[in-house]
Subunit: 412 residues, 2 copies
């Protein structure tokens, strides 16, 4: 690529509060690159690219620190998302050929796709197809997912902020619970279908005055209802107020979801869960009979940008920048990654990994980071999690409410 | 009261993030008063006072700005709460006589009870009984409730912070919803059994880029399911993403709760609600069939001190201080209040009201602040709400998580 080229960025999958920070990072590095001219954004992920819904981003963001900073603090996705699964090109090349047309039309030299496991599948397929057609377009994945379940990366952008929200909220829920002199159980249902990282973060709610959550249930360990009832009873006897952090995706020893709605699946074949907390609440009511409440953190754990982790947003920007550097160095079919250095103080370095090792894989919580009884996490887990939630972000406020950036994709 | 006397403070009812600020305010004024010696705290409200569970607070807080500030930022209740309903003294004087004993034992010259409607009932009864027994103890109520439903006060401590949390969260939920190019309805269920103030605060989520919530349903207006379905359909057609803010306590024209669980009642005879959002979700699924999600804000709206309103916390401190000044001026059987001045810039002045006009009464949203169709609030409501959420609080953080003050009441 001797002459100048343009780049295309899009976002996909579920939202996090850090995905726009990675978009800003890509733009920051691109604006600083002599060889890159225009930065284009594809609306609603690959789906909008197929429909030629492409925006020019230079005007709004180049040499505009205020807008870049505001974007970095803004939750969800400035460019919108999709849940579009491309067929394999052996099966049908229509979508692939259409994307190549778009690349040619906009003189695209590098394509960046910010997303999770499913989005990395798109990156994998596109990079293979581009190579097979001898096109000079680098295809680079930028990671994001609150679930922290991507392979080949120490932790994912968006996870640290979700962890900070979860730990803060669980601590606040515990304090709300302590006020009555009455045996009480609170079940906090946290996202995570197959990996328990987010639920593990509830452990950070503990400090010198708060021992809650006393029980933590992750999907990596089979859930036993009788053992759960015994554990809650024992904890109630000891503490009177018991907070239980539970992943939505816990399953029994036969692999059946505890949630009553576990049989529904989405387009990717993932189980769609809700109600795990409600099921456990009913169990406590029936078999223990004390006051019990179930709280579903719901989408707030991925949207609460007002309490983002400064560490998370900084790393998300850097992963975006690093992605552009990878493309400029000729890398394709890779994901921008970070590795935790083996230093006493927390430090990371930015690198890359082959996308085929990431796409459609899931990184679960290692069993040695879960206690033997399966109801808590180990100190290794706490040490792993702690640096990721550090630092507060000064979000812009207007009229007392966080003032985020207007997204560019709504139909109305 | 020529000689020095001690004072007793307790907290009661449901938690807010501002109730400890009022406790700090009472202490600040008491520590500065020549005539007041010791400040005692009663644990778990009137219930703990009956059990002689009394703490001395001077050691921890007097001349300790750091501890006072930390207390002011701490959610829930430092002294714990109760839901204890005193019988009328005509019926049974046991509890009343016991409280008088405690007053004598600790040489109490003034008793401050921080709470909502039910707690003001306790203040009313106690002040009457004290007067009838010619005891020189001033009994003063300090208001608090996220519900904003107390009479004789412009707005209640705790409400502004809850409103800020609700508006912020609804805005973040809206942004989370906008990312998919797909017709979506999100129902946000907000606290409020009979008064819609909290749900009205969702309107503050709107700004120049966010028109959600498009529909707001308060308990002051009878809920009509058919009209709701028509409104949602129309809004979906226009906006594609529709956020509905709904009070848990909405009822149909015959006064029946929409929530399926509306028939359970608590000790005070209040209906215990949950599931209003879930009921509306089912209605949308059955009659419209688009993607729909229900989110219950749950206890987070009263516990999320990490996003308190600075205006709310400041006023809560002042209402506590004002309570002490009222007692010193010889007032009893009153509640510390604030009035909004008729000035262009928002200003309040502190005053008092006769407790009998407040106890067991509920201030509802005036119908003229609800639009004619009953699906939104008026500009007068917005202007009333706006100043209450202003200002951000610098909460102390440790290890990335808000560092609140350890409460003093847990049994373990």
């Amino acid at each position: 690529m001797g002459e100048k080229y343009n780049i295309l960025i899009a976002q996909s999958g579920g939202p996090t509060v850090a995905i726009n920070a990675s978009l800003a990072g890509v733009m920051r590095e691109a604006f600083a690159s002599e060889e890159i001219d225009r930065v284009y954004g594809g609306c609603n992920g690959i789906q909008g690219i197929l429909e030629d819904r492409i925006l020019e981003l230079n005007e709004q963001f180049e040499n505009n620190e205020e807008n870049l900073h505001k974007l970095e603090c803004t939750p969800a996705m400035f460019l919108g998302s999709c849940r579009y699964k491309m067929k394999s090109y052996e099966e049908d090349t229509t979508d692939y050929d259409r994307v190549l047309e778009i690349f040619q039309k906009y003189h695209i030299g590098a394509f960046f796709y910010i997303g999770g496991n499913d989005s990395m599948d798109t990156v994998d397929k596109m990079s293979q197809y581009v190579k097979a057609h001898d096109m000079d377009v680098k295809v680079v994945g930028i990671p994001k997912t609150i679930d922290n379940d991507l392979m080949m990366i120490d932790h994912t952008p968006g996870f640290g902020s979700a962890a900070k929200y979860i730990a803060t909220t669980v601590r606040e829920i515990a304090m709300d619970t302590y006020i009555y002199n009455m045996d009480t159980v609170v079940i906090v249902e946290i996202m995570g279908r197959n990996a328990g990282w987010l639920t593990a973060a509830a452990a950070l709610a503990r400090n010198n005055y708060n021992i809650a959550p006393q029980l933590i249930y992750l999907p990596e360990v089979a859930f036993d209802t009788d053992a759960f009832v015994q554990k809650v009873k024992k904890s109630l006897f000891q503490y009177h107020h018991v907070i239980v952090a539970v992943s939505e995706g816990i399953k029994d020893k036969d692999g059946n979801y505890i949630s009553a709605q576990g049989n529904n699946v989405d387009k990717f074949g993932h189980a769609m869960l809700s109600g795990t907390g409600a099921v456990l609440k009913d169990i406590v009511t029936e078999r223990i009979g004390c006051k019990v409440r179930s709280i579903e953190l719901n989408v707030l754990q991925r949207a609460a940008a007002h309490i983002s982790s400064a560490t998370d947003l900084k790393e998300s920007v850097e992963l975006g920048k690093n992605g552009v550097r990878l493309a400029k160095a000729g890398k394709t079919g890779v994901m921008s990654t970070l590795t935790r250095k083996d230093t006493p103080k927390y430090e990371v370095e930015y690198s890359f990994a082959d996308i085929s090792k990431i796409a459609n894989e899931e990184k679960k919580v290692p069993l040695e980071w879960i206690t033997e009884e399966g109801t808590d996490v180990s100190n290794d887990m706490i040490e792993y999690l702690r640096p990721l939630v550090l630092g507060e972000v000064t979000v812009p406020y207007k009229d007392g409410i966080p003032d985020y950036m207007f997204d560019r994709v709504r139909r109305k």
